[in-house]
Amino acid sequence: MHLKVNGDVHDVDAPDHWTLLEVLRYRLGLTGSKQGCDKGDCGACTVLVDGEPMISCLILAREAEGREIVTIEGLWPLHLARGGEGPDPVQDAFDRYGALQCGFCQSGMILSARALLDRTPSPTDEEIARALSGNLCRCTGYTQILQAVQSIVARARGVEPPRRSWEAANVGRQAGER
């Protein structure tokens, strides 16, 4: 089969029952898409198919022929190719805001966020939460993930990102500390 992944067309041979996730990971070596459950529950394998976030463990690889697939590995090169500097702003914000603890769910989470911002550049907090609700994260309690996306939206609007709880409340610090 022929799969277009991150701008390149790959000629791949795999069993008919293999999912897109299996082909990405075990044939193309694109291991950034993670397998957390293999049944569509966790969202760690989310990739962009024609710009839409899709769960790659629920798509047969053959069904993805003729479509544009973007994986987490494709975001940074794509950003550079479009004249950007550094990593994709979503990747950068996730790093900057502590959203990456174990990181296992984050390639899917980042792609879901990327798809949201591509289609809705200035989403509300509720729209952000809803767009990421298909991606389970077990480390963060989601707060810093949402803050990361909110920071991008704030920057696009030309305003300061909201202060975070521990920055605003300095009550716990000992006198003379920082």
Partner: protein, 812 residues
């Protein structure tokens, strides 16, 4: 310098350059771009794939196993069973009751029985279907009380105490006398159900056996060192010919801190076939592997004076351990030992018994052994407050343990910021104007807790350092840190970078960290008991303070000045003014910068790069490096078990939660959690807040959504992430992390733990908030709509004068 040195809480160069800032993590961008390699991302040439055949019975003897047909299947390279790996193991040296594959009998549904290595997973799965196992089913014990009442047949043969996994009885002072004299005694039963870790990465291991006799195992473990030891024991390979590597890890929370079947199986299959072998558990297998939170049945009696001062606490706890010991001995102690703060108990007694049952084995989950008793006690304390008509925060203030003191069970307390935690959540939540004053159906609750910051009790007693690190100082200006510590997402590698850059006056990008590889790194005991920041941090400072004087001396002699005039700032060395140079406007704050550009701070002064300084020192003193270590001081009460629960420092937490209760549906919604946590010095506040938020989220989920249980056949009730419901973005309440810093005299720059303590209060605080909202006391977890409705009905009946049904206070 020695492993027991105390390094002080002050910045090494006058003011902190990295510590205390919201810095990026060392591996953040690697994870964000998909470049970070996790265990299942490893592919070796010629690698085989292995699968496990699991028991369909909760308790059965194995009469025979016939793998002949499986072995004949095309693509199958090996089949192994318990007879190939008969040596027992277990995380604790005293309770080694597991085997990699069942030997003679199975003790829970899902227990590994045989394993196949094949050319791919499809062939391995097909082979599993051809293995014929003949079982003789035995009576399955699914209830811990039944396990304790009878043991014919026993779950484990040859034990003198039947199905008792561990029993602990400890008493401090005369509890009976104290309760007899108390003005008020509250007595009740509490039930904590089972929950599991549900890390998003399933367990995975890859084994490689070289012709040189070196066995390498990559594993998604949070404790490389214990896997190393267990592999040597079970495979009968000398430890020096085994290398264990933990690649990037996709979450653990305690669920990856035992040695597991798959690590032995891939090693054995690699040795058998001469090919690398990988095994990746399915999500279903992760649920069988479990080691999650122990269900506990708890009876508490708490006595107090009319003023609300605690005079005695008496606990009886029955723990459902599942089929194997795992960490259960420690759990049984922790269930009692860790309750003795943040409140002063005048007298205390606990009796805790862990029973084996034919269910997936329980183990340590975030807040090991102490989350369940904390739930019971904090709900009871709240009931005491309402009985005595004292504000729930006020009753907690009246019983403060205080700092630099000793608990009733002999644990040394150093720093203690709990009083400030209460102040902070009270203030942030507007408690005084809102608690008890919200409309019916809406309420607020408070709870507190204390947790160990590392434990002085190594898993196997030995006099060697509990944490050790090594530094390599390179001519390029790079320092490489080698640490056996396991970064499981909490950021221990990042903390190592910040601390070494701080101590040596370097820019962040001049420090790289190599971790969790037994060939390269000195032994560290791993990521459990919230020990890494505290212990590894101290070991890092120890190492830096051994090598730093050499570099300073070389520069001082080169400049012909006194060593006290040599100062490191962000990767450059400058001659210090008198009075000491204050840090100037050199850019810091997350952006790593090259160390070679002349700093503003150096204007008009002599300076050189750190690389040049390292070269001078290397020329003078030969190859530069250092080791560092940490060991806890001698701690703990002078009685059997007195060292279990003894920690070099303790963290403290208070939560206020706000809930709404729908009295029509019985559904509780947790609206917001204010989390105040005393973590000592916050080395990176953003990472601390991440731990606090993640902990609170997990606690809320345990209270309201998650349940790990089995049906009447011992079959897991729903081994998937669809059935085991963990919260999504839209289920998670608003979380406000409020950092409290009580600088600990022995922590690295005063730091303590943040990863486990902040979970504890969430669960009882929700129960207490529900009482404020609708006047019912929920004492049996999880707080399902059915229990809420039953309790509301019972309350209504009681008010109407009809006798309350047995379900009052929450159905079992």
């Amino acid at each position: 310098m020695a492993s027991r040195d105390i390094h002080g809480i002050d910045a090494p160069w006058g003011a902190f350059r990295h510590v205390g800032r919201d810095l990026r993590k060392v591996d953040g961008l690697a994870k964000a771009t998909g470049a970070a390699m996790y265990t299942d991302d490893i592919a070796l040439p010629g690698m085989l794939h292995a699968k496990t055949l699991r028991s369909p019975h909760a308790h059965a003897r194995i009469r025979s196993i016939d793998a002949a047909d499986a072995l004949r299947l095309a693509g199958v390279h090996a089949v192994i069973t318990g007879e190939h790996l008969p040596v027992t193991y277990g995380i604790l040296p005293w309770t080694q009751d597991e085997t990699a594959l069942a030997v003679g009998k199975v003790r829970f549904v899902g227990e590994p029985v045989a394993a196949v290595a094949a050319v791919d997973e499809d062939a391995a799965n097909a082979a599993l279907k051809l293995i014929r196992v003949e079982y003789e089913p035995l009576h399955a014990y699914l209830d811990p009380f039944e396990s304790l009442a009878r043991h014919d047949p026993p779950i484990h043969e040859g034990r003198k105490d039947g199905n008792v996994s561990k029993h602990v009885h400890l008493a401090f002072g005369d509890v009976d006398a104290a309760l007899a004299e108390a003005d008020v005694v509250i007595e009740d039963d509490y039930v904590f159900h089972g929950t599991t870790h549900a890390a998003i990465e399933p367990h995975c291991a890859v084994g490689h056996y070289g012709a040189d006799g070196v066995l390498t195992v990559w594993s998604s473990t949070q404790i490389t060192h214990y896997v190393h030891r267990a592999l040597a024991r079970v495979l009968d390979v000398p430890a020096h010919r085994i290398r264990v590597i933990q690649p990037c890890l996709g979450g653990a929370f305690g669920g990856k801190s035992d040695p597991f079947s798959l690590e032995f199986v891939v090693a054995k299959l690699a040795m058998t076939t001469g090919r690398p072998v990988k095994m990746l558990y399915t999500r279903e297998e992760v649920f069988y592997t479990h080691r999650g939170r122990h269900p506990m049945h708890m009876r508490y009696r708490t006595g107090a004076t009319r003023e609300g001062r605690l005079v005695g606490v008496d606990a009886t706890i029955v723990i459902d351990g599942g089929a194997y010991s795992s960490y259960g001995l420690v759990t049984t102690y922790y269930a009692g030992q860790l309750l003795t703060g943040p409140y002063a108990f005048a007298t205390y007694r606990f009796d805790s018994t862990r029973a084996f049952t034919n269910k997936p084995p329980c183990g340590p989950k975030r807040g090991h052994g102490s989350v369940q008793p904390r739930f019971a006690f904090e709900v009871q304390l709240d009931e005491l407050a309402s009985t005595l008509e004292i504000d729930p925060i006020e009753i907690r203030r009246r019983n403060l343990l205080g700092e630099h003191t000793t608990t009733v069970n002999g644990q040394r307390i150093t720093s203690n910021g709990f009083a400030r935690c209460l102040d902070v959540v009270e203030h942030a939540s507007n408690w005084k104007t809102r608690h008890g004053q919200l409309p019916f159906g809406r309420g607020m609750g408070v709870a507190g807790s204390m947790y160990i910051s590392g434990t002085n009790y190594p898993i196997y007693p030995n006099p060697m350092p509990q944490a050790a690190v090594q530094l390599k100082i390179d001519r390029s200006g790079l320092v490489t840190v080698f640490t056996g510590a396991n970064d499981i997402g909490q950021g221990s590698n990042s903390i190592a970078q910040y601390l070494v850059a701080e101590e040596l006056g370097l820019a962040l990008d001049q420090v790289r960290v190599v971790s969790a590889d037994t060939d390269l790194c000195p032994v560290d005991l791993g990521a459990y008991s919230s020990r890494e920041t505290f212990m590894v941090g101290n070991a890092l400072i120890d190492a830096c303070r051994k090598v730093r004087p050499l570099v300073v001396r070389a520069v001082a002699d080169h400049w012909q000045v006194d060593p006290s005039r040599v100062r490191f700032v962000d990767g450059v060395v400058v001659e210090q003014d008198d009075p000491p140079l204050q840090p100037a406007g050199v850019a810091v704050g997350g952006e790593a910068r090259p160390g070679a550009s002349p700093p503003d701070a150096a204007a008009g002064r002599r300076w050189m790069t750190a690389a040049e300084a390292f070269q001078l020192a290397e020329a003078r003193f030969d190859t530069l490096g250092a080791t560092g270590a940490y060991n806890t001081p001698t701690l703990g009460g002078d009685y059997r078990g007195g060292t279990i629960g003894a920690a070099p420092a303790y963290s403290f937490t208070a939560h206020v939660v706000e809930v709404s209760v729908d009295v029509e549906t019985g559904r509780i919604t947790c609206e917001k959690v204010w989390i105040a946590h005393d973590c000592g010095r916050a080395l990176n506040p953003m990472l601390v807040a991440g731990q606090m938020e993640g902990s609170a989220y997990m606690g809320v989920a345990e209270a309201l959504m998650e349940a790990h249980g089995v049906n009447r056949f011992g079959l897991h009730a729903g081994p998937s992430l669809l059935d085991y419901r963990i919260p999504t973005t839209v289920d998670t309440p608003e979380l406000a992390a409020l950092i409290v810093e009580s600088l600990d005299p022995e922590g690295p720059y005063g730091a303590k733990e943040a990863g486990e303590g902040p979970l504890h209060p969430a669960i009882p605080a929700i129960s207490n908030a529900v009482f404020d909202a609708v006047g019912i006391r929920l004492k049996h977890l999880p707080f399902t709509p059915g229990k809420v409705l039953a309790a509301l009905r019972a309350r209504k009946d009681a008010a109407a004068g009809t006798p309350a049904p047995a379900l009052a206070g929450g159905a079992r």
